[in-house]
Symmetry: C2
């Protein structure tokens, strides 16, 4: 089943069921007006949504309308929780090497997760509004929306609560990160609004590519129309969605609609923490990894962060070459007002 | 105006208007079924809520019901954002000294804020469910619920978006914090579900005690019925709500219903970062501050963290001795299942 949220009907948008081929969609106000409403009563409402999905795929919904990614908000335009982990150790090693930060010795057994801002996500085709001097980078990731998870749940129990999967562009402001993390309390300014794929899908839509609570498909990233990365999300993923959710649920329950991300997808590919596409590798899902690779090989980075007008596209194709989630496709735009200097009065 | 949320009617509870003396309340489904719904359209709905508040205070609402804090959820049972700052430098200095952590040199000009979990808050009289070995501590704070704040807003603009004020018990698991913060991404396991005061109030309810975007009243904290702290929230508050919100809004908009906390209230009171109530001072709003004070004075802490059955009460009285927000009053209960060991499979 595929679901999306149109930019109409208020702050939470309008839930639509989307056909498997992403061609058509239909609102379902008689079942659930918004995706959060569907998640709040998933067990009761999902069968009706699924029945509508089958009718839509069979061409039996007369008032179905054309589906457009540009008309979409994030599947959850605002969510009660956004937890983003670091499941791909190659990313952690490269990014921390880039800023000279220590690697936690427990990182292979104790997940690194941050609590992200979830009040104002942006749509898959919305602009990235940020100042160039902040060091604008993308991070292509996979995320799960989960149902209620009780405190103390095991990884297997949390995995059983997975409802939907999405793609994420977890935009990161690299030049703000070192000073912010040095304060000790995690990201606030340096992780602006994340964008999500047009469509959220139930795991069965991935067929055989969904096993071990991981998606075993490449994440295809293009920067300004040129291939930048295609690492496989099922490779080198030390932690899965269930492990990440259970880690947080150790001390509190998680409420339905919580989004769990695995962090930037990254494949090790042997030496030097991976290879760029130009060098015959599978490339990267964020610019800072390529910059670190360049620094390790050539002594300094040669690729800059995103500038005004630059575009990033993130997509996953199934075994038959069909887009599973639709594409995130965003352009960088500078803020209308010049950014203020840092500090409390900014 | 005073508002609360009863534990009935679903995940977001039922919004009620509460009389100034906290004696009576009435649901307002014809105006807004939930507090988030009221916040989503505040400018349009607040006048109707205020009119009901005046009628309730005048004894003109026939079907008003008795108000009970124990029947309350948090005013926002789940919120889209919980940002907690560290406005009181005495707290930052003491807590970081306690765990041997560095003080950021910019801390007096650049607010320290963490993104907290907001999906599953608990009510003012709900149990604190945690294992004793986690090091259970309370943190008494003041928080504001704000409306929409655009990206790039000034502190004054953000201050203008303040809708309501509440008290918070930001429960902290002291023995989990050092290892979690060492990973570099902030709090996840070590900050379980926060509790909020029964009632959220508009700033005008504080009268002359609300100025400079700060509440100038003591926060009264009792541990097991004994006075533990009564520092004034208007003293030594380096940052106000507007400054904290504007800091985060530098790189993204904040959506209506965002909660901003000022961090644990703490007064310096001269030497040794403050004095306990036993020593004639105004005491503290968390146990770790007293433990650090004891360590500085006596070489080691003599006060333990909370144990099963221990209670904490947090309240604010106005100049006439009347409770402004109602009281947070919680008891520690150990989890039904013994806590799992740390790590991904916990």
């Amino acid at each position: 089943m595929k679901l999306a949220t149109l930019k109409q009907g208020g702050r939470d948008g309008t839930l639509v069921v989307v056909s498997r081929d992403l061609g058509r969609c239909c609102p379902v106000p008689h079942i659930a007006p918004t995706l959060q409403a569907a998640l709040d009563d998933w067990d009761e409402l999902a069968p009706s949504l699924r029945a509508m999905y089958e009718r839509l795929n069979a061409g039996e919904v007369e008032d179905a309308q054309p589906f457009s990614a540009a008309a979409c908000q994030a599947p959850l335009p605002r969510a009660y929780q956004w937890l983003d982990g670091s499941a791909y150790m190659n990313h952690v090693e490269l990014v921390r090497k880039a800023r000279g930060a220590d690697l936690p010795p427990s990182m292979y057994t104790d997940p690194i997760i941050y609590q992200g801002g979830s009040d104002s996500f942006i749509g898959p085709c919305d602009d990235i509004v940020a100042a160039e001097e902040w060091g604008i980078d993308f991070e292509a990731e996979v995320a799960a929306i989960i149902g209620d998870v009780p405190m103390g749940a095991t990884a297997a129990e949390a995995a059983g609560a997975i409802r939907l999967l999405m793609l994420v562009n977890d935009v990161s402001l690299r030049n703000l990160i070192p000073a912010e993390l040095a304060k000790g309390f995690g990201f606030v300014q340096s992780k602006p609004a994340s964008a999500f794929s047009p469509v959220a899908v139930t795991p069965d839509e991935l067929g055989a590519a969904w096993h071990d609570t991981r998606m075993h498909l490449p994440l295809r990233v293009a920067l300004n129309g040129q291939p930048f990365g295609m690492p496989n999300a099922g490779v080198d993923a030390t932690f899965d969605f269930g492990m990440l959710a259970a880690h947080v649920a150790k001390t509190r329950e998680l409420e339905a609609g919580t989004i769990v991300g695995t962090g930037t997808v990254s494949n090790k590919q042997g030496g030097l923490w991976g290879s760029s596409i130009a060098n015959g590798g599978v490339g990267y899902c964020c610019i800072v990894e390529l910059r670190t690779y360049e620094t390790l090989e050539q002594g300094k980075p040669s690729t800059g962060y995103m500038r005004a007008g630059d575009t990033v596209r993130i997509e996953v194709l199934d075994g038959d070459g069909r887009s599973v989630f639709g594409a995130i496709e965003q352009k960088v735009v500078v803020p209308a007002l010049a950014p203020q200097s840092g500090g409390a009065h900014g």
